[in-house]
Point group: C2
Chain length 318, copies 2
Amino acid sequence: MYRPEIKVFDCTIRDGGLMNNWGFSKAMVKEVFHGLARAGVDYVELGYRADKKQFSPDESGPWRFSDEEDLREVAYECGTKVSVMCDVGRTDYDTILPASESIVKMYRVAAYAKDVDKAIHLGNHAKQAGYEVCINIMAVSNVMEPVIDEALDQLAETNFDAVYLVDSFGYFYSEQIHFLADKYLSRLKGKEVGIHCHNNQQLAFANTVEGIIRGINWLDGSIYGMGRAAGNCPTELLLGFLKNPRYDLRPVLELIEKYFVDLHRKLNWGYEMPYVITGILNAHPRTALQYMKELSQGVPERSLVDFYNEHYESEVLE
Amino acid sequence: MYRPEIKVFDCTIRDGGLMNNWGFSKAMVKEVFHGLARAGVDYVELGYRADKKQFSPDESGPWRFSDEEDLREVAYECGTKVSVMCDVGRTDYDTILPASESIVKMYRVAAYAKDVDKAIHLGNHAKQAGYEVCINIMAVSNVMEPVIDEALDQLAETNFDAVYLVDSFGYFYSEQIHFLADKYLSRLKGKEVGIHCHNNQQLAFANTVEGIIRGINWLDGSIYGMGRAAGNCPTELLLGFLKNPRYDLRPVLELIEKYFVDLHRKLNWGYEMPYVITGILNAHPRTALQYMKELSQGVPERSLVDFYNEHYESEVLE
Protein backbone atom coordinates (compact mmCIF):
# COMPACT_ATOMS: atom_id res chain seq x y z
CA MET A 1 0.00 0.00 0.00
CA TYR A 2 1.45 3.36 -0.96
CA ARG A 3 1.96 6.46 1.12
CA PRO A 4 0.50 9.43 -0.78
CA GLU A 5 2.84 11.91 0.97
CA ILE A 6 5.84 10.47 -0.88
CA LYS A 7 7.42 12.72 -3.51
CA VAL A 8 10.07 11.69 -6.00
CA PHE A 9 12.61 14.37 -6.71
CA ASP A 10 14.83 13.83 -9.74
CA CYS A 11 18.11 15.78 -9.76
CA THR A 12 19.80 14.24 -12.81
CA ILE A 13 20.55 17.52 -14.57
CA ARG A 14 21.67 19.40 -11.47
CA ASP A 15 23.80 16.72 -9.78
CA GLY A 16 24.73 14.94 -13.02
CA GLY A 17 25.88 18.31 -14.35
CA LEU A 18 28.76 18.12 -11.89
CA MET A 19 30.15 15.37 -14.17
CA ASN A 20 29.87 17.20 -17.52
CA ASN A 21 30.04 20.84 -16.44
CA TRP A 22 26.28 21.11 -17.10
CA GLY A 23 26.90 20.55 -20.79
CA PHE A 24 23.57 18.84 -21.55
CA SER A 25 21.92 20.03 -24.78
CA LYS A 26 18.58 21.78 -24.50
CA ALA A 27 16.97 19.10 -26.65
CA MET A 28 18.11 16.44 -24.20
CA VAL A 29 17.06 18.33 -21.09
CA LYS A 30 13.66 18.91 -22.69
CA GLU A 31 13.25 15.18 -23.28
CA VAL A 32 14.40 14.46 -19.74
CA PHE A 33 11.83 16.83 -18.27
CA HIS A 34 9.02 15.56 -20.49
CA GLY A 35 9.93 11.93 -19.82
CA LEU A 36 10.07 12.46 -16.06
CA ALA A 37 6.72 14.25 -16.23
CA ARG A 38 5.22 11.22 -18.01
CA ALA A 39 6.85 8.99 -15.37
CA GLY A 40 4.92 10.91 -12.70
CA VAL A 41 8.01 12.29 -10.96
CA ASP A 42 6.99 15.11 -8.62
CA TYR A 43 9.93 17.50 -8.92
CA VAL A 44 12.70 17.85 -11.49
CA GLU A 45 15.75 19.84 -10.51
CA LEU A 46 17.06 21.38 -13.70
CA GLY A 47 20.20 23.01 -12.38
CA TYR A 48 21.97 25.33 -10.01
CA ARG A 49 21.43 29.05 -9.81
CA ALA A 50 25.10 30.00 -9.64
CA ASP A 51 26.14 33.63 -9.39
CA LYS A 52 27.43 34.82 -12.78
CA LYS A 53 29.72 37.28 -11.02
CA GLN A 54 31.51 34.31 -9.47
CA PHE A 55 31.23 31.74 -12.28
CA SER A 56 31.55 32.68 -15.93
CA PRO A 57 28.71 31.53 -18.19
CA ASP A 58 31.37 31.02 -20.88
CA GLU A 59 32.95 28.25 -18.85
CA SER A 60 29.93 26.09 -17.95
CA GLY A 61 26.72 24.90 -19.57
CA PRO A 62 23.41 26.70 -19.00
CA TRP A 63 22.22 24.40 -16.20
CA ARG A 64 24.76 25.85 -13.84
CA PHE A 65 22.80 29.10 -13.97
CA SER A 66 19.27 28.00 -14.87
CA ASP A 67 18.15 31.27 -16.42
CA GLU A 68 14.40 31.64 -16.59
CA GLU A 69 14.35 31.65 -20.39
CA ASP A 70 16.41 28.45 -20.58
CA LEU A 71 14.12 26.70 -18.12
CA ARG A 72 11.06 27.74 -20.12
CA GLU A 73 12.55 26.24 -23.27
CA VAL A 74 12.73 22.76 -21.74
CA ALA A 75 9.96 22.58 -19.14
CA TYR A 76 6.27 23.37 -19.05
CA GLU A 77 3.71 23.90 -16.29
CA CYS A 78 2.31 20.55 -15.21
CA GLY A 79 2.05 18.26 -12.21
CA THR A 80 5.82 17.90 -12.31
CA LYS A 81 7.41 20.95 -10.70
CA VAL A 82 10.69 22.64 -11.61
CA SER A 83 13.30 22.97 -8.90
CA VAL A 84 16.57 24.89 -8.84
CA MET A 85 19.38 24.54 -6.33
CA CYS A 86 21.26 27.46 -4.73
CA ASP A 87 24.53 27.19 -2.85
CA VAL A 88 24.99 29.43 0.14
CA GLY A 89 27.55 32.09 -0.75
CA ARG A 90 27.30 31.44 -4.49
CA THR A 91 23.90 32.93 -5.23
CA ASP A 92 22.90 36.36 -6.53
CA TYR A 93 19.66 37.09 -4.66
CA ASP A 94 18.54 39.42 -7.45
CA THR A 95 18.19 36.51 -9.88
CA ILE A 96 15.35 35.05 -7.83
CA LEU A 97 12.29 36.47 -9.61
CA PRO A 98 8.91 36.77 -7.93
CA ALA A 99 7.39 33.27 -8.12
CA SER A 100 4.48 34.54 -10.22
CA GLU A 101 6.95 35.42 -13.01
CA SER A 102 8.85 32.12 -12.92
CA ILE A 103 8.37 28.53 -14.00
CA VAL A 104 10.39 27.51 -10.94
CA LYS A 105 8.30 26.21 -8.04
CA MET A 106 10.99 25.14 -5.60
CA TYR A 107 14.33 26.50 -4.48
CA ARG A 108 16.58 24.09 -2.66
CA VAL A 109 19.33 25.67 -0.60
CA ALA A 110 22.48 23.58 -0.14
CA ALA A 111 24.60 24.41 2.87
CA TYR A 112 26.93 22.91 5.43
CA ALA A 113 25.51 22.70 8.92
CA LYS A 114 27.83 25.48 10.13
CA ASP A 115 26.25 27.80 7.53
CA VAL A 116 22.66 27.22 8.61
CA ASP A 117 22.09 30.92 9.37
CA LYS A 118 23.13 31.84 5.84
CA ALA A 119 20.91 29.06 4.50
CA ILE A 120 17.95 30.39 6.46
CA HIS A 121 18.63 33.89 5.18
CA LEU A 122 18.67 32.73 1.56
CA GLY A 123 15.71 30.41 2.13
CA ASN A 124 13.68 33.27 3.62
CA HIS A 125 14.44 35.38 0.57
CA ALA A 126 13.11 32.65 -1.74
CA LYS A 127 10.13 31.96 0.50
CA GLN A 128 9.19 35.65 0.52
CA ALA A 129 9.39 35.61 -3.29
CA GLY A 130 6.67 32.97 -3.18
CA TYR A 131 8.54 29.69 -3.69
CA GLU A 132 8.53 26.37 -1.94
CA VAL A 133 11.85 26.11 -0.12
CA CYS A 134 13.87 23.30 1.23
CA ILE A 135 17.28 23.12 2.85
CA ASN A 136 19.82 20.40 2.10
CA ILE A 137 22.33 20.11 4.93
CA MET A 138 25.36 18.57 3.27
CA ALA A 139 28.00 16.17 4.50
CA VAL A 140 26.51 15.49 7.93
CA SER A 141 28.63 12.35 8.27
CA ASN A 142 31.50 14.65 9.23
CA VAL A 143 29.62 16.94 11.60
CA MET A 144 29.43 16.69 15.36
CA GLU A 145 26.00 15.88 16.68
CA PRO A 146 25.35 19.09 18.65
CA VAL A 147 25.99 21.08 15.47
CA ILE A 148 23.42 19.03 13.58
CA ASP A 149 20.97 19.32 16.46
CA GLU A 150 21.30 23.08 16.60
CA ALA A 151 20.86 23.42 12.83
CA LEU A 152 17.72 21.27 12.95
CA ASP A 153 16.29 23.22 15.87
CA GLN A 154 16.78 26.47 13.97
CA LEU A 155 15.22 25.02 10.82
CA ALA A 156 12.25 23.74 12.80
CA GLU A 157 11.34 27.38 13.48
CA THR A 158 11.26 28.41 9.81
CA ASN A 159 8.35 28.15 7.41
CA PHE A 160 10.37 26.13 4.89
CA ASP A 161 8.76 23.05 3.36
CA ALA A 162 11.38 20.40 3.97
CA VAL A 163 14.88 19.63 5.21
CA TYR A 164 17.07 17.01 3.59
CA LEU A 165 19.23 14.36 5.17
CA VAL A 166 22.22 14.27 2.81
CA ASP A 167 24.88 11.56 2.70
CA SER A 168 27.36 13.53 0.57
CA PHE A 169 30.20 11.04 0.97
CA GLY A 170 28.20 7.82 0.54
CA TYR A 171 29.35 6.73 3.97
CA PHE A 172 26.22 5.80 5.89
CA TYR A 173 24.90 2.30 6.55
CA SER A 174 21.26 1.63 7.39
CA GLU A 175 21.83 2.06 11.11
CA GLN A 176 23.09 5.62 10.69
CA ILE A 177 20.21 6.41 8.35
CA HIS A 178 17.74 5.15 10.95
CA PHE A 179 19.42 7.19 13.67
CA LEU A 180 19.51 10.41 11.64
CA ALA A 181 16.07 9.98 10.06
CA ASP A 182 14.57 9.63 13.54
CA LYS A 183 16.50 12.69 14.70
CA TYR A 184 15.46 14.85 11.73
CA LEU A 185 11.83 13.79 11.95
CA SER A 186 11.54 14.43 15.65
CA ARG A 187 13.52 17.69 15.84
CA LEU A 188 11.85 19.22 12.79
CA LYS A 189 8.45 18.99 14.44
CA GLY A 190 6.38 17.64 11.60
CA LYS A 191 8.20 19.37 8.75
CA GLU A 192 8.78 17.07 5.78
CA VAL A 193 12.17 15.38 5.63
CA GLY A 194 13.93 14.41 2.43
CA ILE A 195 16.83 12.08 1.71
CA HIS A 196 19.65 12.49 -0.80
CA CYS A 197 22.21 9.67 -0.87
CA HIS A 198 25.43 9.13 -2.75
CA ASN A 199 26.20 5.70 -4.05
CA ASN A 200 29.84 5.09 -3.14
CA GLN A 201 29.05 1.82 -1.38
CA GLN A 202 26.03 0.86 -3.51
CA LEU A 203 23.81 1.91 -0.63
CA ALA A 204 22.05 4.97 -2.08
CA PHE A 205 18.87 3.12 -3.05
CA ALA A 206 18.92 0.86 0.01
CA ASN A 207 19.37 3.83 2.34
CA THR A 208 16.61 5.76 0.60
CA VAL A 209 14.29 2.82 1.24
CA GLU A 210 15.42 2.77 4.89
CA GLY A 211 14.57 6.47 5.03
CA ILE A 212 11.08 5.71 3.68
CA ILE A 213 10.62 3.00 6.31
CA ARG A 214 11.43 5.57 9.02
CA GLY A 215 9.02 8.17 7.69
CA ILE A 216 10.98 10.25 5.19
CA ASN A 217 8.74 11.32 2.30
CA TRP A 218 10.88 13.32 -0.14
CA LEU A 219 13.17 11.09 -2.14
CA ASP A 220 16.02 12.21 -4.37
CA GLY A 221 17.05 10.14 -7.34
CA SER A 222 18.79 10.64 -10.65
CA ILE A 223 18.41 8.77 -13.90
CA TYR A 224 20.82 5.81 -14.11
CA GLY A 225 22.25 7.21 -10.88
CA MET A 226 23.99 10.06 -12.73
CA GLY A 227 25.59 12.41 -10.24
CA ARG A 228 28.86 13.55 -8.82
CA ALA A 229 31.47 10.80 -8.43
CA ALA A 230 29.63 7.63 -7.38
CA GLY A 231 26.33 9.26 -8.27
CA ASN A 232 22.96 9.05 -6.58
CA CYS A 233 20.08 6.73 -5.93
CA PRO A 234 18.87 5.62 -9.38
CA THR A 235 15.43 7.09 -10.09
CA GLU A 236 14.48 3.90 -11.98
CA LEU A 237 15.02 1.78 -8.85
CA LEU A 238 12.88 4.15 -6.80
CA LEU A 239 10.07 4.02 -9.36
CA GLY A 240 10.34 0.22 -9.46
CA PHE A 241 9.98 0.12 -5.70
CA LEU A 242 7.20 2.62 -5.09
CA LYS A 243 3.66 1.31 -5.30
CA ASN A 244 1.80 4.54 -6.12
CA PRO A 245 0.04 3.88 -9.47
CA ARG A 246 0.88 7.35 -10.71
CA TYR A 247 4.52 6.40 -11.24
CA ASP A 248 5.52 4.70 -14.49
CA LEU A 249 8.99 3.30 -15.03
CA ARG A 250 8.77 3.10 -18.82
CA PRO A 251 9.58 6.73 -19.78
CA VAL A 252 12.71 6.52 -17.63
CA LEU A 253 13.75 3.29 -19.38
CA GLU A 254 13.43 5.16 -22.69
CA LEU A 255 15.67 7.98 -21.46
CA ILE A 256 18.28 5.55 -20.15
CA GLU A 257 18.35 3.69 -23.46
CA LYS A 258 18.53 6.86 -25.53
CA TYR A 259 21.02 8.89 -23.49
CA PHE A 260 22.34 7.59 -20.23
CA VAL A 261 24.00 4.28 -21.09
CA ASP A 262 26.29 6.13 -23.52
CA LEU A 263 26.81 9.08 -21.19
CA HIS A 264 27.80 6.69 -18.42
CA ARG A 265 30.36 5.05 -20.66
CA LYS A 266 31.95 8.46 -21.27
CA LEU A 267 31.75 9.99 -17.80
CA ASN A 268 32.17 7.02 -15.46
CA TRP A 269 30.08 8.07 -12.52
CA GLY A 270 29.05 5.17 -10.31
CA TYR A 271 30.86 2.15 -8.92
CA GLU A 272 34.54 3.02 -9.29
CA MET A 273 37.05 1.98 -6.66
CA PRO A 274 38.37 5.46 -5.75
CA TYR A 275 34.80 6.49 -4.91
CA VAL A 276 34.27 3.26 -2.96
CA ILE A 277 37.38 4.03 -0.90
CA THR A 278 36.42 7.62 -0.03
CA GLY A 279 32.93 6.33 0.84
CA ILE A 280 34.23 3.65 3.17
CA LEU A 281 36.57 6.17 4.80
CA ASN A 282 34.02 9.00 5.08
CA ALA A 283 36.01 11.40 2.91
CA HIS A 284 35.04 14.06 0.36
CA PRO A 285 35.16 12.61 -3.18
CA ARG A 286 37.38 15.36 -4.58
CA THR A 287 40.58 13.33 -4.25
CA ALA A 288 38.84 10.36 -5.85
CA LEU A 289 37.69 12.51 -8.77
CA GLN A 290 41.28 13.68 -9.19
CA TYR A 291 42.53 10.09 -9.08
CA MET A 292 39.94 9.04 -11.68
CA LYS A 293 41.19 11.87 -13.90
CA GLU A 294 44.76 10.60 -13.55
CA LEU A 295 43.56 7.08 -14.38
CA SER A 296 41.86 8.33 -17.54
CA GLN A 297 45.16 9.87 -18.63
CA GLY A 298 47.04 6.57 -18.32
CA VAL A 299 48.20 4.37 -15.48
CA PRO A 300 48.56 6.55 -12.38
CA GLU A 301 51.72 6.51 -10.34
CA ARG A 302 49.72 5.67 -7.25
CA SER A 303 48.08 2.27 -6.92
CA LEU A 304 44.65 1.83 -5.41
CA VAL A 305 46.33 0.63 -2.24
CA ASP A 306 48.43 3.82 -2.15
CA PHE A 307 45.25 5.85 -2.56
CA TYR A 308 43.58 3.88 0.21
CA ASN A 309 46.57 4.28 2.53
CA GLU A 310 46.76 8.02 1.96
CA HIS A 311 43.17 8.40 3.05
CA TYR A 312 43.38 5.90 5.84
CA GLU A 313 46.44 7.60 7.28
CA SER A 314 45.08 11.09 6.95
CA GLU A 315 42.01 9.86 8.82
CA VAL A 316 44.13 8.57 11.63
CA LEU A 317 46.27 11.68 11.92
CA GLU A 318 43.70 14.42 11.55
CA MET B 1 32.52 -4.30 17.92
CA TYR B 2 32.84 -7.36 15.76
CA ARG B 3 31.06 -10.68 15.95
CA PRO B 4 33.65 -13.46 15.82
CA GLU B 5 31.16 -15.96 14.37
CA ILE B 6 31.05 -14.05 11.10
CA LYS B 7 32.65 -15.78 8.10
CA VAL B 8 33.31 -14.20 4.72
CA PHE B 9 32.81 -16.56 1.84
CA ASP B 10 34.18 -15.41 -1.52
CA CYS B 11 32.66 -17.07 -4.59
CA THR B 12 34.24 -15.00 -7.37
CA ILE B 13 35.61 -17.91 -9.36
CA ARG B 14 32.54 -20.13 -8.99
CA ASP B 15 29.78 -17.56 -9.57
CA GLY B 16 31.90 -15.27 -11.76
CA GLY B 17 32.71 -18.31 -13.88
CA LEU B 18 29.12 -18.25 -15.06
CA MET B 19 30.11 -15.10 -17.02
CA ASN B 20 33.24 -16.45 -18.73
CA ASN B 21 32.52 -20.19 -18.84
CA TRP B 22 35.07 -20.66 -16.02
CA GLY B 23 37.85 -19.52 -18.33
CA PHE B 24 40.09 -18.00 -15.64
CA SER B 25 43.78 -18.85 -16.04
CA LYS B 26 45.41 -20.89 -13.30
CA ALA B 27 47.86 -18.06 -12.66
CA MET B 28 44.99 -15.69 -12.01
CA VAL B 29 43.03 -18.08 -9.79
CA LYS B 30 46.19 -18.68 -7.80
CA GLU B 31 46.61 -14.94 -7.24
CA VAL B 32 42.95 -14.65 -6.32
CA PHE B 33 43.24 -17.41 -3.71
CA HIS B 34 46.48 -16.07 -2.27
CA GLY B 35 45.14 -12.50 -2.20
CA LEU B 36 41.92 -13.54 -0.49
CA ALA B 37 43.94 -15.54 2.02
CA ARG B 38 45.97 -12.42 2.83
CA ALA B 39 42.73 -10.47 3.09
CA GLY B 40 41.62 -12.88 5.81
CA VAL B 41 38.64 -14.24 3.87
CA ASP B 42 37.40 -17.45 5.53
CA TYR B 43 36.32 -19.53 2.54
CA VAL B 44 37.10 -19.30 -1.16
CA GLU B 45 34.84 -21.15 -3.54
CA LEU B 46 36.99 -22.13 -6.48
CA GLY B 47 34.38 -23.67 -8.72
CA TYR B 48 31.63 -26.15 -9.35
CA ARG B 49 32.03 -29.91 -9.30
CA ALA B 50 30.05 -30.57 -12.48
CA ASP B 51 29.59 -34.11 -13.73
CA LYS B 52 31.88 -34.71 -16.71
CA LYS B 53 29.38 -37.20 -18.12
CA GLN B 54 26.92 -34.34 -18.42
CA PHE B 55 29.26 -31.43 -19.26
CA SER B 56 32.25 -31.84 -21.52
CA PRO B 57 35.57 -30.59 -20.09
CA ASP B 58 36.44 -29.52 -23.64
CA GLU B 59 33.67 -26.93 -23.57
CA SER B 60 34.31 -25.15 -20.25
CA GLY B 61 37.25 -24.01 -18.16
CA PRO B 62 38.63 -26.13 -15.31
CA TRP B 63 36.67 -24.35 -12.56
CA ARG B 64 33.46 -25.91 -13.75
CA PHE B 65 34.86 -29.24 -12.58
CA SER B 66 37.37 -28.30 -9.87
CA ASP B 67 39.53 -31.41 -10.16
CA GLU B 68 41.66 -32.04 -7.11
CA GLU B 69 44.92 -31.53 -8.99
CA ASP B 70 43.75 -28.18 -10.40
CA LEU B 71 42.70 -26.97 -6.96
CA ARG B 72 46.08 -27.96 -5.52
CA GLU B 73 47.85 -25.92 -8.17
CA VAL B 74 46.18 -22.71 -7.07
CA ALA B 75 45.40 -23.12 -3.37
CA TYR B 76 47.30 -24.17 -0.29
CA GLU B 77 46.32 -25.31 3.20
CA CYS B 78 45.86 -22.26 5.41
CA GLY B 79 43.27 -20.45 7.46
CA THR B 80 41.36 -19.77 4.26
CA LYS B 81 39.41 -22.88 3.31
CA VAL B 82 38.62 -24.15 -0.18
CA SER B 83 34.98 -24.66 -1.07
CA VAL B 84 33.39 -26.31 -4.09
CA MET B 85 29.76 -26.10 -5.17
CA CYS B 86 27.67 -29.06 -6.35
CA ASP B 87 24.35 -28.80 -8.15
CA VAL B 88 21.75 -31.40 -7.34
CA GLY B 89 21.39 -33.70 -10.34
CA ARG B 90 24.65 -32.56 -11.93
CA THR B 91 27.16 -34.18 -9.61
CA ASP B 92 29.05 -37.47 -9.92
CA TYR B 93 29.20 -38.70 -6.32
CA ASP B 94 32.33 -40.70 -7.10
CA THR B 95 34.36 -37.53 -7.63
CA ILE B 96 33.97 -36.57 -3.96
CA LEU B 97 37.20 -37.97 -2.46
CA PRO B 98 37.54 -38.76 1.23
CA ALA B 99 38.22 -35.41 2.91
CA SER B 100 41.62 -36.58 4.14
CA GLU B 101 42.77 -36.86 0.52
CA SER B 102 41.46 -33.49 -0.60
CA ILE B 103 42.33 -29.83 -0.23
CA VAL B 104 38.60 -29.09 -0.25
CA LYS B 105 37.10 -28.38 3.16
CA MET B 106 33.55 -27.45 2.26
CA TYR B 107 30.97 -28.67 -0.19
CA ARG B 108 28.06 -26.39 -0.85
CA VAL B 109 25.02 -28.03 -2.38
CA ALA B 110 22.83 -25.78 -4.53
CA ALA B 111 19.22 -26.86 -4.94
CA TYR B 112 15.73 -25.57 -5.41
CA ALA B 113 13.46 -25.97 -2.40
CA LYS B 114 11.48 -28.70 -4.14
CA ASP B 115 14.69 -30.74 -4.44
CA VAL B 116 15.58 -30.60 -0.76
CA ASP B 117 15.52 -34.40 -0.41
CA LYS B 118 18.06 -34.73 -3.21
CA ALA B 119 20.14 -31.98 -1.61
CA ILE B 120 20.11 -33.80 1.72
CA HIS B 121 21.13 -37.02 0.00
CA LEU B 122 24.08 -35.34 -1.71
CA GLY B 123 24.96 -33.39 1.44
CA ASN B 124 24.96 -36.58 3.51
CA HIS B 125 27.33 -38.16 1.02
CA ALA B 126 29.79 -35.24 1.38
CA LYS B 127 29.35 -35.11 5.13
CA GLN B 128 30.13 -38.82 5.43
CA ALA B 129 33.26 -38.26 3.34
CA GLY B 130 34.38 -35.85 6.07
CA TYR B 131 33.56 -32.40 4.68
CA GLU B 132 31.82 -29.37 6.03
CA VAL B 133 28.53 -29.11 4.17
CA CYS B 134 26.10 -26.38 3.53
CA ILE B 135 22.94 -26.16 1.48
CA ASN B 136 22.05 -23.18 -0.68
CA ILE B 137 18.31 -23.09 -1.35
CA MET B 138 18.03 -21.10 -4.55
CA ALA B 139 15.41 -18.69 -5.84
CA VAL B 140 13.22 -18.61 -2.74
CA SER B 141 11.58 -15.39 -3.94
CA ASN B 142 9.45 -17.58 -6.21
CA VAL B 143 8.61 -20.33 -3.73
CA MET B 144 5.48 -20.63 -1.61
CA GLU B 145 6.08 -20.29 2.09
CA PRO B 146 4.99 -23.79 3.17
CA VAL B 147 7.52 -25.27 0.74
CA ILE B 148 10.31 -23.16 2.26
CA ASP B 149 9.16 -24.06 5.77
CA GLU B 150 9.18 -27.76 5.02
CA ALA B 151 12.64 -27.60 3.44
CA LEU B 152 13.99 -25.73 6.46
CA ASP B 153 12.41 -28.19 8.90
CA GLN B 154 14.03 -31.08 7.06
CA LEU B 155 17.40 -29.34 6.99
CA ALA B 156 17.15 -28.58 10.71
CA GLU B 157 17.32 -32.35 11.31
CA THR B 158 20.58 -32.84 9.38
CA ASN B 159 24.11 -32.47 10.67
CA PHE B 160 25.04 -29.97 7.96
CA ASP B 161 26.93 -26.85 8.99
CA ALA B 162 24.83 -24.10 7.44
CA VAL B 163 21.91 -23.24 5.20
CA TYR B 164 21.94 -20.26 2.89
CA LEU B 165 19.26 -17.70 2.22
CA VAL B 166 19.71 -17.03 -1.51
CA ASP B 167 18.20 -14.14 -3.46
CA SER B 168 18.87 -15.59 -6.91
CA PHE B 169 16.88 -12.96 -8.78
CA GLY B 170 18.01 -9.88 -6.85
CA TYR B 171 14.41 -9.19 -5.95
CA PHE B 172 14.34 -8.79 -2.18
CA TYR B 173 14.18 -5.53 -0.22
CA SER B 174 15.31 -5.29 3.39
CA GLU B 175 11.88 -6.19 4.73
CA GLN B 176 11.87 -9.54 2.95
CA ILE B 177 15.42 -10.23 4.10
CA HIS B 178 14.38 -9.54 7.70
CA PHE B 179 11.36 -11.81 7.36
CA LEU B 180 13.29 -14.68 5.81
CA ALA B 181 16.38 -14.32 7.99
CA ASP B 182 14.19 -14.58 11.08
CA LYS B 183 12.44 -17.61 9.60
CA TYR B 184 15.67 -19.40 8.67
CA LEU B 185 17.31 -18.68 12.03
CA SER B 186 14.34 -19.85 14.05
CA ARG B 187 13.42 -22.95 12.01
CA LEU B 188 17.00 -24.16 11.67
CA LYS B 189 17.34 -24.42 15.44
CA GLY B 190 20.73 -22.86 15.94
CA LYS B 191 22.33 -24.01 12.72
CA GLU B 192 24.38 -21.28 11.05
CA VAL B 193 22.61 -19.32 8.33
CA GLY B 194 24.35 -17.77 5.32
CA ILE B 195 23.27 -15.15 2.81
CA HIS B 196 23.96 -14.98 -0.92
CA CYS B 197 22.48 -11.99 -2.72
CA HIS B 198 22.36 -10.92 -6.34
CA ASN B 199 22.78 -7.29 -7.18
CA ASN B 200 20.07 -6.54 -9.74
CA GLN B 201 18.73 -3.62 -7.71
CA GLN B 202 22.03 -2.61 -6.08
CA LEU B 203 20.82 -4.23 -2.89
CA ALA B 204 23.22 -7.18 -2.56
CA PHE B 205 25.54 -5.47 -0.08
CA ALA B 206 22.74 -3.67 1.75
CA ASN B 207 20.75 -6.88 2.12
CA THR B 208 23.82 -8.76 3.32
CA VAL B 209 24.25 -6.14 6.04
CA GLU B 210 20.56 -6.52 6.93
CA GLY B 211 21.19 -10.26 7.21
CA ILE B 212 24.08 -9.59 9.60
CA ILE B 213 21.86 -7.33 11.70
CA ARG B 214 19.33 -10.17 12.03
CA GLY B 215 21.95 -12.74 13.03
CA ILE B 216 23.20 -14.29 9.81
CA ASN B 217 26.91 -15.11 10.10
CA TRP B 218 28.03 -16.57 6.78
CA LEU B 219 28.36 -13.91 4.11
CA ASP B 220 28.87 -14.47 0.41
CA GLY B 221 30.69 -11.94 -1.68
CA SER B 222 32.64 -11.81 -4.91
CA ILE B 223 35.45 -9.54 -5.97
CA TYR B 224 34.14 -6.41 -7.72
CA GLY B 225 30.76 -8.13 -7.49
CA MET B 226 31.66 -10.54 -10.31
CA GLY B 227 28.91 -13.10 -10.74
CA ARG B 228 26.09 -14.15 -12.96
CA ALA B 229 24.19 -11.30 -14.60
CA ALA B 230 23.99 -8.45 -12.06
CA GLY B 231 26.59 -10.19 -9.93
CA ASN B 232 26.90 -10.49 -6.17
CA CYS B 233 27.65 -8.53 -3.06
CA PRO B 234 31.13 -7.04 -3.63
CA THR B 235 33.64 -8.66 -1.27
CA GLU B 236 35.47 -5.33 -0.98
CA LEU B 237 32.37 -3.64 0.45
CA LEU B 238 31.93 -6.42 2.98
CA LEU B 239 35.55 -6.16 4.09
CA GLY B 240 35.19 -2.37 4.32
CA PHE B 241 32.17 -2.83 6.56
CA LEU B 242 33.31 -5.61 8.90
CA LYS B 243 35.22 -4.56 11.97
CA ASN B 244 37.14 -7.77 12.69
CA PRO B 245 40.85 -6.80 12.59
CA ARG B 246 41.74 -9.98 10.76
CA TYR B 247 40.21 -8.66 7.52
CA ASP B 248 42.33 -6.46 5.27
CA LEU B 249 40.88 -4.73 2.24
CA ARG B 250 44.19 -4.03 0.54
CA PRO B 251 44.88 -7.40 -1.15
CA VAL B 252 41.41 -7.25 -2.70
CA LEU B 253 42.10 -3.73 -4.01
CA GLU B 254 45.23 -5.14 -5.68
CA LEU B 255 43.25 -7.92 -7.36
CA ILE B 256 40.58 -5.50 -8.57
CA GLU B 257 43.20 -3.20 -10.05
CA LYS B 258 45.13 -6.01 -11.71
CA TYR B 259 42.26 -8.11 -13.07
CA PHE B 260 38.70 -7.18 -12.36
CA VAL B 261 38.30 -3.66 -13.75
CA ASP B 262 39.32 -4.96 -17.19
CA LEU B 263 37.30 -8.16 -16.85
CA HIS B 264 34.24 -6.12 -15.96
CA ARG B 265 34.68 -3.98 -19.05
CA LYS B 266 34.65 -7.14 -21.18
CA LEU B 267 31.93 -9.14 -19.46
CA ASN B 268 29.48 -6.52 -18.22
CA TRP B 269 28.15 -8.13 -15.11
CA GLY B 270 26.58 -5.68 -12.70
CA TYR B 271 24.23 -2.74 -13.12
CA GLU B 272 22.70 -3.24 -16.55
CA MET B 273 19.07 -2.39 -17.21
CA PRO B 274 17.90 -5.85 -18.36
CA TYR B 275 19.11 -7.27 -15.04
CA VAL B 276 17.48 -4.40 -13.16
CA ILE B 277 14.17 -5.19 -14.87
CA THR B 278 14.21 -8.94 -14.10
CA GLY B 279 15.19 -8.07 -10.52
CA ILE B 280 12.31 -5.64 -10.07
CA LEU B 281 9.89 -8.17 -11.58
CA ASN B 282 11.22 -11.22 -9.67
CA ALA B 283 12.22 -13.12 -12.79
CA HIS B 284 15.10 -15.46 -13.64
CA PRO B 285 17.93 -13.53 -15.33
CA ARG B 286 18.18 -15.87 -18.31
CA THR B 287 16.08 -13.65 -20.59
CA ALA B 288 18.12 -10.63 -19.49
CA LEU B 289 21.37 -12.44 -20.31
CA GLN B 290 19.95 -13.25 -23.73
CA TYR B 291 18.91 -9.62 -24.23
CA MET B 292 22.40 -8.44 -23.22
CA LYS B 293 23.85 -10.82 -25.81
CA GLU B 294 21.60 -9.33 -28.48
CA LEU B 295 22.66 -5.84 -27.38
CA SER B 296 26.33 -6.77 -27.71
CA GLN B 297 25.65 -7.86 -31.28
CA GLY B 298 24.15 -4.49 -32.24
CA VAL B 299 20.96 -2.64 -31.48
CA PRO B 300 18.31 -5.19 -30.53
CA GLU B 301 14.92 -5.18 -32.20
CA ARG B 302 13.27 -4.94 -28.82
CA SER B 303 13.57 -1.76 -26.79
CA LEU B 304 14.05 -1.82 -23.02
CA VAL B 305 10.38 -0.93 -22.69
CA ASP B 306 9.46 -3.94 -24.89
CA PHE B 307 11.62 -6.13 -22.67
CA TYR B 308 9.97 -4.71 -19.57
CA ASN B 309 6.48 -5.18 -20.99
CA GLU B 310 7.16 -8.78 -21.99
CA HIS B 311 8.13 -9.61 -18.41
CA TYR B 312 5.45 -7.52 -16.83
CA GLU B 313 2.77 -9.14 -18.96
CA SER B 314 4.04 -12.66 -18.47
CA GLU B 315 3.96 -11.98 -14.73
CA VAL B 316 0.34 -10.92 -14.92
CA LEU B 317 -0.74 -13.83 -17.08
CA GLU B 318 1.09 -16.71 -15.49
